[in-house]
Subunit: 200 residues, 4 copies
């Protein structure tokens, strides 16, 4: 059969991306079959290949789009004009909100790096490094102007990111603490890590 009335190429591609994202995040790239993705999208397996040339490209597409969207979103959220403490708080808020909204993307962008073929791996790795420069720059700025007391800027940067990302593994909307409360705790924890005096 040919195209059914009402369906369009862009819609199918977007549906495929959404379904693949969900399944890759839940079961892992290797454990998900093209047939499974197709079935949940409501098409036959072969139809996927009208939109993505291989399974690998589908993963690559998800990761590139995620990283680029993240970088673009941060470019808009970044406030280099703010003093370092406020800039850091801004980063933490951004990172937590953005990553909770896209926990599946974040998860596979860490977990499925190993499923990427070499060249694709490098592309994503480079984008990731680029994002990690954001907190590092703020830390350096705060260290320079004396508002932070940093132990080791590189280790501290990685510690902050790991700590924030860890949240996605246990956060549940129905949990004990609201997102606002958790956010507040994390902001204070990060301030401690960078040796900033608490204002209160």
């Amino acid at each position: 059969m040919a195209r059914r009335t009402g369906s369009s190429g862009a819609e199918t591609a977007e549906k495929l991306r959404e379904v693949a994202l969900e399944l890759f995040a839940r079961s892992g790239y290797a454990a998900v079959s093209m047939r499974e993705i197709a079935a949940r999208t409501g098409v036959q397996a072969g139809a996927i290949y009208n939109h993505f040339p291989t399974k690998q490209h589908l993963l690559q597409d998800l990761l590139v789009v995620h990283m680029e969207t993240l970088l673009k979103a941060w470019a808009e959220a970044d406030r280099p004009d703010l003093p370092a403490p406020a800039a850091l708080e801004n980063f933490v808020r951004f990172h937590i909100r953005y990553h909770l909204d896209r926990s599946r993307e974040v998860f596979i962008s860490y977990m499925e790096l190993r499923s990427l073929e070499d060249e694709n791996f490098s592309v994503i790795e480079r984008l990731r490094r680029s994002y990690e420069k954001a907190p590092r720059a703020i830390l350096d700025r705060g260290a320079a102007d004396g508002s932070f007391d940093i132990l080791d800027p590189q280790v501290t940067t990685m510690a902050i990111i790991a700590m924030l990302n860890g949240m996605t593994t246990w956060y549940r909307e129905s949990g004990r603490l609201s997102l606002d409360e958790i956010e507040a705790v994390y902001i204070r924890l990060v301030k401690r890590l960078v040796g900033q005096k608490e204002e209160d």
Copy 2:
């Protein structure tokens, strides 16, 4: 052909465990085939089934052994007699050293939870929760006696663990800092997280 002189069942099983660990950590459970494990062990695929009834059991075996060994090691390293600050430092040292030595086990014990069938999943999850009680208990003790100033004990516990585990993703023996130096930084970072005054 029969068994080659000199090889024994226990040896093969151990070699299989070691190879499977390496491959699962590198490529993920779903992406590794029994044939691949067998080939690197130097046997045929069928021989694996003399030692492990299924691929799932092989993973389960690795994870259970890892978690039980970890808990046993901690039971030996734990010093409940120490004051909270020293106990926390002891935990951090233990965790870093142990996890760097077993980075593959740690990695798959986080990553491949989703590859476990339901019952196996619960077993491992329970063991993991059990380990996480260790830092939590120290935090609670320090909070009670006033040596720590904890923001939220549960969030802080998870933050500490996530921060420490993050290290395994970037640590390289040949890196800028020695293990001792990194350890020292992390200990100070953890002290900051729990609101302990730095002594020096």
Copy 3:
């Protein structure tokens, strides 16, 4: 998108025939996909079906056109008025020239008979037999008037055709001998096969 200005249906059909001929000759009917034919023609696969109802029809079309063109060309080249020796030489020249010009058609008309469905096979087979009657008739004429000394007319006919066709498998324009030279050799070889005394 609609038809691009300048392209016409007949042009596309002819381009498809040419491309299919080339690909079938090079890789074989079964190994060539409709997408491949379409791509080299500069259209999408679906467009082929505006010109040929199935892949099988496309092959059939090529073979029927080839055989009919061959028969028509021979009808024009044939000189039944000539004495048998001159008529035979005329046939050999015609066959060599025609088959070298159409080596791809000749090749698939032998090779892809097996790819034809039954009815189509019979059509082509009949046309081929019809062409083979040409040399046979000349042989019979020469045998009757004593200008040839034929061993077995049927076997000799097939031998001549096989010998001549074999040339298409090794002939290269850049080879040691020119086409004229090769032709001269083949004419003399054929004369030997039919037991005709060499004039020179």
Copy 4:
């Protein structure tokens, strides 16, 4: 299920070779599926891969074995001690008998060269050239000692081979002429091609 009692690896491999030979000769390499070969062999498709690593290897195996067997058989049948006319007759007899017995191997060794990947192609092509040296050497010998009157030794060699091979396309056991009769005709035709005087 595992191996059924009574079956053995070597037997299955041989059966697979025989079936593949038959099917490749009948339908062409590209048109035959591994499942089809497996089904006629009485195993599942996957089992083929215990004996041949790929479909291409299966074809390659058939062709290499055929060419090597042919060369070996000719090495035994060759009689370099005979005078050129008798040696040529010996070659024609050998070639006809051998090729009729192995018409499928001969057919695919010509037809499926194009299905071979580059390296495999070269191997077979080299073996084929090697066989073609046999008649060429006899022709040269007969030309040198004056027993033949050769027009062009290379063209004549190819003509002889093409003429003889052509027989496999039309020979039927139930045909008008017996194999002995056909053989006799072909021997006399070849003698004519090399310009040897007929004895009787």
